[in-house]
């Protein structure tokens, strides 16, 4: 309790008749008088201003100035060829009108192949990625892994997370040739980074008491993971797995741009040839599938719980 508060309680509790302890009322007038005088002295109007978020004025102004300078520099150094933008606007309008109606028919065969390939890649890479990320994730949890294992696994996660899928895809295509295998490996590797990190964080946040109770029964390490750790992290991990499936499907569309299979290649060709109505069709199908996946994952999550 802060000092001032304590002081108030002390002051008022003594003479207060409301406690019903038969406190003597004779002390009250003298006390009340003293209190009234203090109040009279403090009666000048008190101003109030909302206290600023950042206490130090120098830091506050410094940050504000820094942000302003950065924005000015960033906007100032952004080179925009306004003539080109102006010329492109009709093309933008053309692209928007291509959605009404989109052209599903003329490249239907390629679209179906691409979409199916994307779906396979998403499914397989999610399964393999999650399977691989479980040991890595457990190893990257500070509270259960020994230090050398911890740093090694954290290293894997950092590398996997630093590179955007497309950069990884470029290298996998170089090594394994064009086609969905490169895309599958890319997405699996990216899944390790995503899922492993979240798993590690979840394990670090778990309730140590429950885990300790299981260990106290004399369980072996694997039994301990199975009974003490797994039940705590499982529900969230299932949800995240479905979410990663959704991400992998969306990413499978871009790794195709660098030749790693999936719908991306078809989309890229459509843009290159300015076939906006086919591109619109592909985009709409993708939006539809993502929506369906989202719905499905919501349903599955409820079913699992």
């Amino acid at each position: 309790m802060p000092l001032t508060q304590w002081y108030r309680v002390e002051l008022s509790e003594q003479p207060s008749p409301t406690r019903g302890e038969g406190a003597s009322t004779t002390t009250a007038p003298a006390f009340a008088l003293g209190r009234a005088m203090t109040l009279a002295v403090a009666a000048a109007p008190r101003r109030w201003k909302k206290p600023p978020l950042i206490k130090s004025a120098r830091l506050r102004w410094g940050l504000g100035l820094g942000v302003a300078v950065y924005l000015a520099l960033a906007l100032g150094t952004t080179e925009v060829n306004w003539n080109r933008v102006w010329e492109g606007l009709p093309r933008g309008a053309q692209f928007i009108t291509a959605f009404f109606p989109p052209d599903f028919t003329s490249r239907w065969g390629e679209i179906v192949d691409g979409i199916l390939e994307s779906i396979w890649m998403a499914v397989v890479s999610t399964v393999v990625g999650i399977a691989l990320s479980i040991p890595v994730g457990i190893g990257a949890a500070r509270n259960i892994a020994p230090a050398p294992v911890y740093y090694f696994c954290r290293g894997i996660l950092a590398v996997s997370r630093s590179f955007q899928e497309v950069i990884l895809a470029i290298f996998f295509v170089k090594l394994f040739g064009f086609g969905p295998l490169a895309g599958f490996l890319t997405l699996s590797f990216a899944t390790i980074g995503f899922y492993g990190k979240l798993l590690a964080e979840d394990i670090e946040d778990m309730d140590p008491v429950q885990a300790e109770a299981v260990r106290a029964t004399g369980a072996s390490w694997l039994q301990w993971i199975n009974f003490g750790v797994q039940p705590q992290v499982m529900p969230r991990m299932i949800g995240l797995g479905l979410y990663r499936l959704d991400i992998n499907f969306r990413e499978s569309a871009v790794v195709g741009i660098v030749g790693a299979g999936g719908i991306g290649a078809t989309l890229n060709t459509a843009f290159d040839r300015y076939e906006f109505d086919s591109a619109a069709a592909i985009l709409l199908i993708m939006i539809g599938i993502v929506m369906a996946l989202e719905y499905l994952s919501g349903y599955l999550r409820r079913w699992v719980q």
Binding site: A158, Q164, N268
Partner: protein, 271 residues
């Protein structure tokens, strides 16, 4: 979980027979789907290349060391551009995401039957399309360069931020809003006093989180001509300048790690 009496002894099983069967069936179906999908992928793969891959990898790795350190002088500008694409794109995305999320949240939307579905559609379309595809589209429209990158990142961020933000708005404590409304406050005041303070921490967290993701995304936009360090990467790969490639990769790792650190610090300070 079930207990059966079997010859006088209680037998405990984790699941009853029916549930057990469903679980097995689900596993079987999942395994079949997985094997089938993998089969299809493997059909499209030239396995000779795959067998050759370890040799190729060793060869590539040998050609990538040591990194061409002198090349770093030419990377200053691309890094600055990458940073700007991520930051300005995030700002743009957030500014648009605020009204969209307000319209999408069930408890603040002006109309559940008309405005909300539109807002939700905006969110889904923005989210389903990767920023690289947004960039692909925008490069054909506004031309190659940083502007296409900023717009691509911005468009992609709208859906992400608006989705998380509208979920945060739907989770607020309605009692606090009701209390502000009971004082006779006007609609805008109810929002400013009842809703904004409740979602502000989530808002700040989401913005920083997205900025961090956007740094990573903007490193590849150059591959399709939308500015940033990806342009250099593309150039170095096509000219087979592998020592430059390795330097660029190192720079990207460093940038991403620094941005992750900054974002973690800022989020920690806010929450």
């Amino acid at each position: 979980m079930t207990v059966a009496i079997n010859g006088g002894a209680k037998v405990w099983q984790r699941r009853d027979r029916r549930t057990q069967f469903t679980v097995w069936a689900a596993w079987l179906a999942a395994t079949a789907v997985f094997v089938y999908c993998f089969q299809l992928i493997s059909d499209k793969t030239i396995w000779a290349f795959v067998l050759d891959a370890p040799v190729q990898a060793g060869d590539l790795a040998a050609r990538m060391v040591p990194p061409d350190w002198a090349f770093i002088t030419q990377l200053g500008r691309p890094i600055w551009d990458t940073l700007n694409i991520a930051t300005l794109g995030t700002v743009m995305g957030i500014v648009i995401a605020i009204p969209v999320s307000y319209c999408a949240a069930r408890n603040t939307t002006p109309s559940v039957s008309l405005v909300r579905p539109i807002a939700l559609f905006v969110i889904v379309s923005s989210r389903s399309i990767n920023s690289l595809i947004w960039a692909l589209m925008l490069v054909t429209i506004v031309g190659p360069g940083v502007l296409a990158g900023i717009l691509a990142i911005g468009f992609r961020s709208i859906g992400f931020c608006a989705k998380l933000l509208y979920e945060a708005i739907e989770e607020i404590d309605e009692a606090q809003v009701e209390a502000v409304r009971a004082t006779g406050a006007a609609g805008a005041q109810v929002t400013a006093y009842g809703i904004v303070p409740q979602v502000l921490p989530a808002f700040a967290g989401i913005s920083v989180f997205r900025w961090d993701i956007n740094i990573r995304e903007s490193t590849v936009l150059g591959l399709v001509g939308a500015g940033g360090i990806g342009l250099q990467l593309e150039g170095a790969i096509t000219t087979l300048a592998w020592t430059q490639v390795s330097l660029i990769l190192l720079v990207i790792i460093a940038t991403v790690i620094v941005s992750e650190w900054v974002s973690a610090k800022v989020r920690h300070a806010i929450i």
